[in-house]
Symmetry: C2
Subunit: 466 residues, 2 copies
């Protein structure tokens, strides 16, 4: 069987043949780091994690690059609101993002280039585009000249007229064409900026992914992934920038886009305040349940987040784990294992068939469930021994290809101490305000007995543990 992937560029499922035998050059658009990751991010990165894991299972050496957009309008605005340097704001959310991805069991990319640290390469790319006639400077900005790219629109399958009709483009009379987009933006007062041949400024959003993909993966890569909302204009512009610069086509052999996450029927969006953070979901349901929720639907489909669907996913992940319960100690070695072993082989091959069909994780989970059912039935029938372990091992191995840990959740059994320590600290302060010194000291001592020390200062009381 051959792996086939749906390519947004050709609108077809195509046989997957990477440019270099056995290697896959893989770029996934990373987040703009001005806030905590939401479940839409979680969905996209889990989907591409399963894709990468399956490629590795198929024996490919995958080289995975994913950017952090750490210079951007929203970042500058948020940093100003919070009175925090933009670099600290982005550093904070980058660390938070990686910690959450680790918790989600999303494999780390091999490289995470930051927009702010690739400025030289971005500037060189823009210079090249100007020299080739694909871009023009304008009052300290630089714009891409869409008319110069005969293929512009190839990914979103629209021509310039359709785009203009569909997009709410701000009319800027200075630009040669309304769809021309900024490669470089001249510095405004108080914004981060870098020197350039066009004066101080910062890169536009689209150019960074071209610069990083070209620099770290080469002029032509195999897979570029991201959410459907990035097809236009982000990825369309990326292709235009990269192909005009290198004059190589195609820049990306296979474009893969995940469907978007909706909240109870509504698209999740920061502008409507309609957001659930990944943190909340990880704390409430755990990584395996969220992953199950994502992978129980095909990655190209839109996905609707509801309490019910997460409850169902929690049960689904528990169901997978249920296969790992040991056989009965008094198993009967004479119970026939033929059916179980047949199901194991069926599941093994159907799993690969499903994943070979454009990473159909929903179908892959369905066949895994057939094996889970067969194992649980076999256990009830008194089966045990080597065939039982082999079938369990198959569930474990295939679950890991999808990125499940199958470990029981520790979070359910242990409450964190911090909220209770906070209550005690507050209470002690009130007791002191009421001059109940003995009780207040008793609280302090009880906390000390648990390794929590208090520090009083005019601003209040802080606590720390050893």
């Amino acid at each position: 069987m051959a792996l086939r992937v749906y390519n947004t560029l050709t609108r077809k499922k195509e046989r997957f043949v990477p440019r270099e035998k056995g290697r896959v050059f893989f770029y996934v658009c990373g987040p703009t780091v001005y806030d905590s990751a939401h479940i839409g991010h979680g969905m996209s990165y889990v989907a591409f994690d399963a894709i990468r894991r399956y490629l590795e299972y198929r024996g490919y050496h995958v080289r995975h690059v994913q950017n952090f957009t750490d210079v951007e309008d929203k970042i500058i605005r948020r940093a100003a609101e919070q009175g925090m340097p933009w670099r600290e704001l982005t550093a904070k959310y980058i660390h938070e993002f990686l910690a959450e991805m680790d918790e989600l069991n999303v494999q780390r990319a091999h490289l995470y280039p930051f927009a702010s640290q690739e400025i030289d390469h971005i500037v060189r790319l823009i210079q090249g585009l100007i020299e080739k006639g694909n871009a023009y400077p304008l009052d300290g900005d630089v714009y891409f000249r869409v008319k110069s790219d005969a293929r512009y629109g190839q990914l979103s399958h629209r021509n310039l007229e359709d785009m203009q009709a569909g997009a709410r483009v701000e009319i800027d009379e200075r630009k040669e064409h309304p769809m021309d987009f900024a490669l470089w933006k001249s510095a405004k007062q108080g914004e981060p900026s870098w020197d350039s041949p066009w004066g101080p400024g910062r890169p536009g959003w689209h150019i960074e992914c071209s610069a990083m993909s070209l620099r770290y993966l080469g002029e032509q890569i195999d897979i570029h992934g991201g959410g459907r909302d990035l097809i236009f204009p982000h990825h369309e512009n990326e292709i235009a920038q990269s192909e005009c610069f290198t004059t190589q086509h195609p820049f990306v052999k296979y474009w893969l886009h995940n469907g978007l996450l909706q909240l109870g029927g509504e698209k999740m969006s920061k502008s409507t305040g309609n957001l659930i953070t990944l943190r909340e979901v990880l704390d409430t349901y755990g990584a395996d349940a969220f992953r199950f929720f994502v992978l129980s639907s095909h990655y190209r489909r839109p996905l609707t987040f509801t309490e019910d669907s997460l409850q169902a996913a929690t049960k689904g992940a528990e169901r997978l784990r249920s296969a790992m319960r040991p056989a009965r100690l008094d198993y009967d070695p004479d119970v026939d294992a033929t059916l179980l072993l047949q199901q194991m082989e069926t599941t093994q091959s159907q799993f690969e068939e499903a994943m070979d069909d454009d990473f159909n994780t929903a179908q892959a989970l369905a066949t895994l469930f057939d094996l889970v059912r067969a194992i649980n039935q076999a256990r009830d029938d008194g089966l045990g021994g080597e065939a039982f372990l082999q079938a369990q091992g198959t569930v474990l191995a295939l679950s890991r290809v999808l990125g499940f840990r199958l470990a029981p959740r520790p979070a359910q059994s242990s409450l964190g101490a911090s909220p209770f320590i906070e209550i005690l600290v507050k209470l002690r302060r009130e007791l002191r305000d009421n001059k109940q010194w003995a009780l207040a000291d008793q609280v302090r001592d009880a906390l000390a007995g648990q390794g929590v020390t208090l520090e009083d200062s005019p601003e209040g009381t802080s606590w720390h543990t050893k």
Copy 2:
């Protein structure tokens, strides 16, 4: 660079060239399951886990088979002592073993054949040996005829005379040669037994590994692993059985043996009661610390278990983790990352050099530590951003090749809530005794806000969580 492995058979480090390009057929002797695993088991399986992981990192498809000896004198004795059916006793310890290996992050074998479930294949192998003149039945037993194998002694590098002088062989006048060993043992009263051409009985210990290796990996395999104590007689006998049956030489291309674990200078042994269970060590130090202890010495060396060495290993594992602490939020993008990136590349190549040199994990850890030091220094120097993440990613990736999880131990990082809830419950009672109803209710409400409900009764107050 080529991978070189020390081969007990040739007493040389040899270039590793598997029989089939890209594939490694890998057999590791599994435990006799009559008791909980001890740290000696942990050491051996961690060592071979690191070996398998490195082979996979090198791009080999490893097929790993590991037996469970679930029919054996010690099992029969222990089951009788405990008044438990032998199958239940072994099932219990098999499940315990796998759970502990999972906790240790030892990858599961692809197949775990049980001696008791391979009897047909064992009998067929013994029959073949009799037909070829390499074995003879004797009063319901069957013995291997060591004189029939001109190569006998090839692994332990001894001849029959040396062996006899060295071993305390029970004199059994019926046997043709004192070193002839049992392939089949006739049934004694109350022992598990199976029918055979020689009457009811059970397999000897050595024959099962030959039968399983031949059945599941083929007539000639690449690597066979186990502890040094298995070289003679177990592995010597396995070679004799397998090569005489198939007439193929060598049965195993590379024989790898780990040094033994000693307790404070003494060899750990069940007969002297000198034992520490793996469970105890996992509970006290955690999986990463124990793994560090094992891998900080070369697998062929003997290893001494002391409290101090485990304390040091705990620090070592923490050291590795320390590299993963985030950069400062106010990192300085102008700090030069050249040295860090150089160290990253040096470590990457030195790591491979070390592991290519007969899996020198101690050396691999040393070069990883150089990178950890460079990362921690860079963090102190204000470095952050993409180079920092890249260096951290290298530590993470190489640590995982060695099987470390690098996750903080949950017990150490998070304080449990219970002691603080207890303090609050007690305090509320005192407030009520002092008739400070408002404050007492405030405590109750604050607890309720954290999902903790109180129940007052004449015996006192109990609390529970949702």
